[in-house]
């Protein structure tokens, strides 16, 4: 079983559309949405949820004002500036700033602080027309997205093993922070979706530098390559120097946009399209590569 993770550095380059297209082509595959912060893959998969699990993310601490003596020791210790004194002298913890380290609870001489796990986050195992999908919903403002990514990936692996699937395809998060790091570790193949803009290239480079620190095979696709041919050429040169093989150049195709508006993959929307043909090349190359990793 091989794990393929689709990433881009920059957001909005077409990761989810590409994942959807590959889903329509792939057989024997479990899917996993690693972009837990802005999970979108389910909009395309329209999955039927089979299991729902709550995910206890980090702790949040609270001050019991009736027990608090307003000594201020907690606020002195908090390194996240999460503890504030109100005009009336009361101490409160801003839950959006609290990192959940419990240091305040431990140093409070009045034992006025307790901590609770936030259970606002959930993850799901679902069935869809493409196969099983593991996805999540993270409540806005939550942290620990990296841990939630690790959780959904673990489940996807279990499912893939159980059904003897050949592949797991992960739709990754944007950026290069904790959730991207959690998406990269232990995956076999990374497919980088680059759009031909200066920002797209800049962000893809940072992503490649990060991916290099893991044991992964890296491939690239230029999406909407014809919206800027000059930058496409610059990207091709960059990939050549980095020895990253470019699997396809996907043209800007209105059908891709239209397919998305109705929640379909390109292949379900149009049986024959240039973007679709390029995506077939991508999938064939990934299949071949996964035999050699």
């Amino acid at each position: 079983m091989k794990e393929i993770t689709i990433l881009s550095g920059k957001g909005g380059t077409g990761k989810t559309s590409v994942t959807g297209a590959l889903a329509a082509l792939a057989e024997s595959c479990v899917f996993c949405d690693n972009d837990v912060d802005a999970a979108d893959l389910h909009l395309l998969f329209q999955p039927e949820v089979r299991e729902e699990h709550s995910f206890a993310s980090g702790l949040k601490s609270f001050i019991d004002i009736s027990a608090c003596t307003q000594c201020g020791i907690c606020a002195d210790h908090c390194r996240f500036e999460a503890i504030h004194v109100m005009e009336n002298g009361e101490y409160v913890i801003n839950p959006f700033q609290c990192e959940g380290c419990r240091l305040c609870e431990r140093v409070c001489p009045a034992e006025a602080i307790r901590s609770e796990k936030s259970t606002n986050n959930a993850w799901y195992v679902s069935d869809s027309r493409f196969g099983q999908l593991v996805h999540a919903r993270m409540a806005p403002g939550e942290e620990n997205s990296g841990k939630l990514v690790t959780r959904v990936r673990k489940k996807a692996k279990e499912l893939a093993k159980a059904e003897g699937a050949d592949y797991i395809i992960n739709d990754g998060p944007p950026g290069i922070g904790c959730s991207t790091i959690a998406s990269l570790s232990g995956t076999d193949i990374v497919l980088v979706i680059i759009e031909p803009t200066m920002s797209g290239l800049h962000d893809a480079k940072r992503l490649v530098d990060l991916a290099r620190t893991f044991q992964v095979l890296i491939f690239a696709v230029i999406n909407k390559f014809d919206i800027n041919l000059d930058i496409t050429t610059v990207i091709e040169e960059y990939l050549k120097i980095e020895k990253i093989s470019l699997l396809a150049k996907i043209p800007f195709d209105e059908n891709m946009v239209k397919a998305m508006t109705v929640g379909k993959t390109i292949f379900e929307y149009r049986t024959d399209s240039e973007a679709g043909n390029q995506l077939k090349l991508v999938w064939n190359a990934l299949k071949e590569a996964s035999l050699t990793t």
Binding site: D37, A38, E81, L103, G141, P174, G175, M198, R206, I227
Partner: protein, 299 residues
């Protein structure tokens, strides 16, 4: 004229909706109105891009930002495991029979709890770089600040908080370009903003992520309005939602291939298509009216 510092943040749940385009363009629109006393702060520290649009900007200052990582001196440690119990992030491994005690720096949040736990004085902290904060200026009077996360670091939120502590003396306005998403780095960016501009696009994904953003703004109780980018593409759903939720629509930026290719080449300052320029001006007017002149803010 003395003014209170106005802080606005440009955010969007989904990536690629045009946050950077809008931040950079609005900065340009507002620059003259604030007589140059305005700074664009790129808080998308994982992938900072704003600087790409200011090719003549020169580096003014740069400083590294450190996270404090504890280190355990096994010579002083009695392997009581108290530090490991205190660490909520599972960053400390102590194996008494093996005489092993170590901090895993990639899991450490630098909270300081282990230092309080240890009564043997075995733990000391050492700075480890998580990224840089730099400021740039151009002869045209542009003024930028940027945080750039070190590759491999997971401390984006801490870097954003540090970036926002940069000196704002002499400024009347700052524009924060937020990272995509709705999780803690976004909260760190928008939390003290006077007003947030949510950029969305009229697509299925755009609307879904926009709703999450609206939920977050309401939870944080920050006034906000929205700009629909790539108007004309996709469908009407996003407008129906904006109407239903009584969200202020600050403007629409029509989808325009020429404008998109100008963005691609990182050139957003000259020959802006007329209907886009008009809309940008409208958004800028409204921002000045709404927050800087403290005209009542629609709930």
């Amino acid at each position: 004229m003395e003014r209170k510092l106005c802080k606005i943040a440009i955010a969007s749940g989904k990536g690629g909706t045009g946050k950077t385009t809008l931040s950079v363009s609005l900065y340009q629109q507002l620059k003259d109105r604030f007589e140059g006393k305005i700074q664009l702060v790129d808080c998308d520290v994982e992938e900072p891009n704003d600087l790409l649009f200011f090719s003549s900007a020169k580096l003014i200052s740069s400083r590294p930002v450190y996270q404090l990582i504890p280190e355990i001196d096994t010579g002083k440690c009695n392997f009581c495991r108290k530090c490991a119990d205190y660490c909520e992030f599972n960053a400390i491994v102590v194996i008494p029979p093996a005489g092993f005690a170590e901090v895993n720096s990639s899991l450490c949040h630098s909270c300081g709890a282990c230092l309080i736990a240890c009564d043997q004085g075995a733990i000391t902290e050492h700075p480890v770089s998580i990224g840089d904060i730099s400021t740039y200026q151009s002869e045209a009077g542009d003024n930028l600040a940027e945080g750039k996360l070190k590759i491999g670091s997971a401390m984006q939120t801490m870097l954003i908080k540090e970036l926002k502590k940069e000196d704002t003396a002499g400024l009347d306005m700052v524009i924060y370009d937020a990272p995509p998403g709705t999780s803690c780095p976004v909260v760190a960016t928008v939390s003290d903003a006077d007003y947030v501009v949510l950029v969305t696009e009229p697509t299925l994904f755009g609307l879904h992520d926009f709703k999450l953003m609206v939920e977050l703004m309401r939870e944080l109780k920050i006034p906000f309005g929205t700009v629909v980018n790539k108007a004309g593409l996709g469908d009407e759903e996003v407008y129906n939602y904006i109407r239903k939720e009584k969200i202020e629509l600050l403007g629409k930026i029509p989808f325009n291939r020429d404008f998109a290719s100008k963005y691609a080449k990182a050139n957003l300052f000259s020959d802006i298509p007329g209907n886009i320029l008009e809309n940008l001006k409208k958004v800028a007017d409204r921002i000045v009216d709404v927050i800087c002149n403290e005209i009542e803010i629609p709930a």
